[in-house]
Amino acid sequence: MSHDVDRTAAAQARKGIMGQLGDFLDDRTGYRALVHEALYERVPGGARWRYVWGSTLVFAFMTQVITGLFLWASYSASAQTAWESVYYIQHEMAGGWLLRGIHHFMAQAMVVLLALHLLQVVIDGAYRAPREVNFWLGLVLMLLVLGMALTGYLLPWDQKGYWATIVATNLAGIVPFVGPSLQQLVIGGPEYGHHTLTRFFALHAGFLPGALIVMLVVHLSLFRKHGLHAKQPITRPDAMFWPDQVLKDAVAMLAVMAVVLGVILMPALRAMLAGDAVVPGELGAELGAPADPSLPYAAARPEWYFLFLFQFLKVFEGWGATGEFFGAIVVPGLIMGVMFLMPILGNWKLGHRFNVAFTLAILAGVGLLTALALNEDYYALWVDKASLAEAEKIYDQTGGDPEKLAAALGNDSAKINAMEQQWKKLERVRHSQAFLEASRQAKADAARAIELAGRPEKIPPAGMLELVRQDPKSQGPRLFAQHCAGCHAHVDPLAANAEAVIAKSSAANLHGFGSAQWMRGLLDPAQVAGPAYFGNTAHKEGDMVNFVQNDLTDEAEWSKADIDAVVAAMAAEAGRAVPKELVGLVDKGRELVASTDRCGSCHTFRDNGTELGSAPDITGWGGREWLVGIIADPTHERFYGDNNDRMPSFGKATEGALPPLSGEQIGLLADWLRGDWYRPAGH
């Protein structure tokens, strides 16, 4: 007895403190048996690379849980804080770009791995008895992962997530009977907003992953219960899960992570090789401009792995409501139904072949639809546009009218057919160009929003959208296009297409309005009656044109230095930079402008006493206040009065009705025309 005690004591001493602790825990938990069971699973026929897919999926999911929890620690789900907090993660927090990048791209990797895992299970027939239930669980897991991908896309609350979600939830709304209620439940009310985000977030980070974890535990324990579905025939000796298969799994996991990191870091590498600065915030996942329900978003597309569904809806052109019902609900439902039946069908040899063929066909169909969607969007990038020049010319000539086309081609039906084919191609190019332009615009809007968010004043409490809506650089071009571009051009005279654009306009080119360069053009006898100034207006033969073409060309009266001085004075009046060599001339210029023998003979300028009525008051010309005034009401006696050509009074309300533009909008236009907007330091 005492001998025994001695031996135990000696063994205990040999084990050391860790070993003793281990014994203590094992006595009370039995953990050694558990670990043993987990690791020492027999792998029939030895470890193989082809068994790694399931493990990489578990790894991808773990990555999503880890990165997701850390993202959660910085994310705020509401319409005024979602974009803002994601911006902060991506662009301000150290390492935020990497965290978000991994979460974003691992989600995509997971979809690919899912497809591979499924494909392998089907090809190997691993769904057959007794593994049917586990196969079904796998399908449910797949749906859960896709659900998380769909809900995650909205969370940054940017334009692309917002519009993609509108399409997705509207499709939920066409489910018979419960559709509208389902839709309203998911978006948290009749309109998209705070509760759409809180609900999507709860689904994305709570309900769906919670369900997934439960199912995954069952999936894995059933997998262990049934054992690995070994590749037949078994020719090699069995091996143990640990360490043989685990090693292969771990290498595969590392490879997956390497690919994800590669995708994130590739642009950085490229920038470094090109010698450009690397901006960490621009690496990894994109962040679009903040969601704006009132702003068209023509670049609306789902994430690439849902593009096939998006494209599928186009297949049912002309089917009316049935088409959409079929495309969004019936067909995907049927496909899932067949997949659920696979384990049963697989009992027959033919059934198994059918399953394999069906899965491959679905994957091929998905690939094809995705390719079609991409081709439609990016067609203009790879089509030979030169070959369409002829077709374009004829289209412009005939206005696309079939009768005129027939006449133009001498009623030669072969030629007409060929031309109509060309026109179809042309239309596809145009649609693709529209998409590419929309994508470019979306990128520019996103970059601007991010620039604004980085101001030292930070984002106002009302959120980023408010700031974007008050930004002249973002809003100016839109307001101009909508209200001014019908008459005015706004194009750099040095730009490639400037001449054509200016020739088409019916009022002055306002690019650089207020600048010395603009003023110089106005005072140039060769330009003043051209289309960039008064050429296409009622003032074409007016006093100003007359003055510039006759008086200004008389060097005895107006020396070159005088004109320089006026240019300098007017640029200074507009608050624009005065060219260095002219700075000393500003005072002299002001005297000339004010002089009642010179400009002041018609124009009121400061206190020169010239009465209003003959020409616009040019005190403060080109400045904000002046611009706001003339946009609001050019018919005011301070400006053109009764001589106003066709310009509407944008700020003047007829009694009881709204003016075409609000004061704020007119201010935005004025600021934009003056180039007066926030620029980050160093730009």
Partner: protein
């Protein structure tokens, strides 16, 4: 086993299930009760909103896009005079009436835009195309024409549009929410 004992066993089981079930039902029920709250919310009564001035709408039969501005409530946040969407207004030569179309695509809700050529409307999502008066250009993925909105011209010449949303993806025009 005797009968009373069997009965006692059954009662115990049933009672256990009922007790456990009831206890669990409480949190689930409370959760669902709150979760279903959005079903009680509706978009409210549609209002006529001033969008533009009749005189400012060019009478050339070409639709133009106007923002719709109104007060908006998003759960706990109230917005005053926010742009909430857009409509297209179209006026024929000399007409004193205006046709208003919602810019929301009846297919799945994207923002319908004018083709740059100005000849038709086109949705950037699935290429549904519509004529300038909103009619469907076949074949189209969209199940119906663009949604016309009720529209009236006030005493002072302001154009007012009844701002409503309609269910997407169905053939009929049903008010949403």
């Amino acid at each position: 086993m005797s009968h009373p004992e069997q009965r006692r066993g059954f009662l115990a089981k049933a009672f256990a299930v009922v007790c456990g079930g009831l206890a669990t039902m409480v949190p689930v029920g409370a959760g669902l009760w709150a979760f279903l709250d959005p079903l009680r919310r509706s978009a409210g009564v549609a209002k006529f909103l001033p969008v533009a001035e009749l005189a400012a709408i060019p009478d050339d039969g070409v639709p133009r896009q106007y923002p719709v501005i109104t007060d908006r409530v998003d759960a706990w946040t109230g917005f005053a005079a926010e742009p909430v969407g857009a409509v297209y207004l179209r006026r024929e030569k000399g007409a004193t009436e205006v046709q208003a179309l919602s810019a929301t695509c009846p297919h799945a809700g994207c923002f319908v835009e004018m083709e740059p050529t100005g000849r038709c409307f086109r949705c950037p999502c699935h290429n549904s195309t519509f004529t300038l008066d909103g009619g469907i250009v076949a074949p189209s993925p969209s199940p119906r024409a663009m949604d016309a909105l009720d529209c009236r011209v006030g005493k002072n010449g302001e154009v007012e549009v009844k701002w409503q949303k309609f269910r997407a993806g169905i053939a009929g025009k049903e008010v949403q929410g």
